[in-house]
Amino acid sequence: MSSLFNDYQPGKFFDEVFSAPGAARSHYEALLSNVGSLTPGDYSSLQKAVDAAFLKMGVTFTVYGDDQGTERIFPFDLMPRIIPQREWERVEAGLIQRITALNLFLNDIYHGQKILTDKAVPEELVLSASHYRPEFKGVKVPHGIYIHICGTDLVRDDKGEYFVLEDNGRCPSGASYMLENRHAMKRAFPGLLQSLPVRPVDTYGTMLRETLEHLAPKGVLDPTVVVLTPGIYNSAYFEHCYLAKQMGVPIVEGRDLIMRNDRVFMRTTKGLEQVHVIYRRIDDDFLDPLVFRKDSLLGVPGIINSYRKGHVALANSIGTGVADDKAVYALVPKMIEYYLDQEPILPNVKTYLGIKKKECAYILDNLEKLVVKAVNESGGYGMLMGPSASKKERSDFADRIKANPRNYIAQPVLQLSRHPVFVDDHFEGRHIDLRPYVLYGDRVRVVPGGLTRVALRKGSLVVNSSQGGGSKDTWVLWDECSDKAASTQLAA
């Protein structure tokens, strides 16, 4: 065993690398013998070189609440997270099952609402979701797909079992970091990537473009696809631009687009040019001031009407946020059963709903054991970590839950799996999650790997970038035996 990991303590958690102190899992052996042989000084200069490259390239996100609109790099930990092929196959199958069921669900509730009349899920809960868009009922969307790009958050518990934490069916971000992380690893450990059968992720741009082109209105053979961004001051601007570049399509702001005859055009130096598919990175609320928020300057007045008439396609569709409601999330296993007649491959985290009287009582009685979340918040905001919260915070939250039980859910505190992270001059365990990216075009495809997010603060369970999170590259390994099969599959 190498020196860098000699003193590493996996602790009482599920550690991704070590099953016990000094006992590495087999899929990490090659990596450990390589990385472990470095001195702390070598390792940290590699890390510094990567950080400097990220800053130089402007691989940054904007921190709000700072008058300079400070840009920071998303902290990156060099040691990759590895997922063996067999484990990945299960994750992949589970994600495909889930996005399929979610799309059937969205298509249903925006059309016949069969699942509600059959009482498979409670009607009042679904229809009271704040991102449910009744004005969109009955609108036909291309191929009946609502969520084309999904960034599901997965976590592992103390036994290493995978769970779905969130689905993120609106505008999941982070794919650019997944791509940039891999790029950085190629620079830092070229030999290692060559010697290990790591599945590539850099086809994401092409896959995304194919997914989007699939939505083009009928009869358009060479559709114009664009990425719609709020602009350079948006926290995820780097990503919007990066993905546009990867796909080779223009990145536009609302002010670049103009409506004519219910069609969308972009203003170019040579006049107006029609746009057929928009990968929009603007929330529903800001997309069209004629339909949603009247004060929005980011969107395009009339774009929704054009979408309704089928002249332009939007990805993701309108109203997918209903599936992101954390109370509706709790119903996904029932959706899988109802639409697909299957057992969920990836289970949900046990979730108590504030709207159900008995469960609400349980939540209120057990606040110190639970994580409470507001159903529409994300990014680590609007939540209570019961065990670490003060008495006052708990009683404040209890009041809020009582005042509006529909707005809260609670889950047991999961002891997320941990992964070694380089801190100062040695490795320490930090909690991680995984956000794989699922694309739904002419078929469902999952990028092998995804973005592994790390809660860099010691003991923290919150991985969001706004809360001190960082990321890692994620390596899905081909099995030696299935190696050939997989490469032929890729070629096809």
Binding site: L55, K56, M57, G58, T62, Y64, G69, P230, G231, I232, Y233, N234, S235, Y237, C241, Y242, A244, K245, P250, I251, V252, E253, G254, R255, D256, I258, M259, R260, N261, F265, M266, R267, T268, T269, K270, G271, L272, I282, D283, D285, F286, S296, L297, L298, P301
Partner: protein, 351 residues
Amino acid sequence: MLSRVADSIYWMARYVERAENLSRLLLSTQDLLLDAGAEGLDEEQFWRPILATTGDEEAYTAVHKKIKGRDVAAFVALRPENPNSILNSIRAARENARTVRDQISDDVWECLNGLRLFVESNEGRSTFRNQNAAFYERVLRRSYQFQGIADSTTPRGEVWHFLRLGTCIERADQMSRLIDTCSAISMDMPPHPQSRPLRWAALLRSCSAWHAFQAEHSKLDPKKIIEYLLLDETFPRSVACCVVELHQTLQCLCGVGSLHHMPAPVRRAGRLRSDLAYTTVDEVLAFGLHEYIDALQTRLNDIGEAIFQTFVLYADLTPLKDDGPLESTPTQPLGAYHVHSDEDAQIQQQQ
């Protein structure tokens, strides 16, 4: 290409060029002061032209009572409150680059981002404090690097043309300002006759024309210098040379066929080009150098305005074929990032 993107590329290039010119101006003035120091010249007399050139006298006097070299240099170089400072020009260049990152090469982007990281860093500030020549040289070198990388990595399409438009028009404008202030100051400096040639030498240095001019002319004759910097098409920083390229670039962009129905930018640039080609320096001086340059700047502005009208606003004005009557659409802010546009930030963060 998107109109907004064209505008951003154009302004990105203009701001880089502006930062470069300011750096060279400060550097040469500082050198000049070292040469003339022994003659006990008034500090103010040396530094006022800088503020006159950049048009910032008023803004400066709002902050400082007296004109002092140190203060002027700091004001022009790094003051965040000065919208025309080198710092803010570089920021604006970089913000525009950021909006068009998908259009420019990674190397161009890294070059500008690196420059902006430098001027905003402690290293940048301390370089400026301790040895400001090194600071200016760093900005200059980066700007050359920008030109070189852009030249060798940009396909000769619209991106390239708008980049050149921005560079040429800004360079022509800065050059005309330089000649104007230098000559005006030089004329009212009779008490120190020996400083006059120094001033003209500094003018040549501040546009990197010293050696080129020396190679062609033996004497520092002000008339020859004005002719060289204004009308000589062979020197790459002269106004005439910039206008020639401006005109050629606009012809490429517009795909000009016949001489009739020529788009406004091509027409205006072409007219200015031939005026410069067929004017003698004696005519310029007879007309009045200051008046001539005033008119020149107005015409450069008109060309800039025509570029904006034609390539950026054009799309709004054209009806589509087989289209019904144009409905009016609410006008929204268009175009590039400039130093004063804070409200954008709030709007974009609202979601």
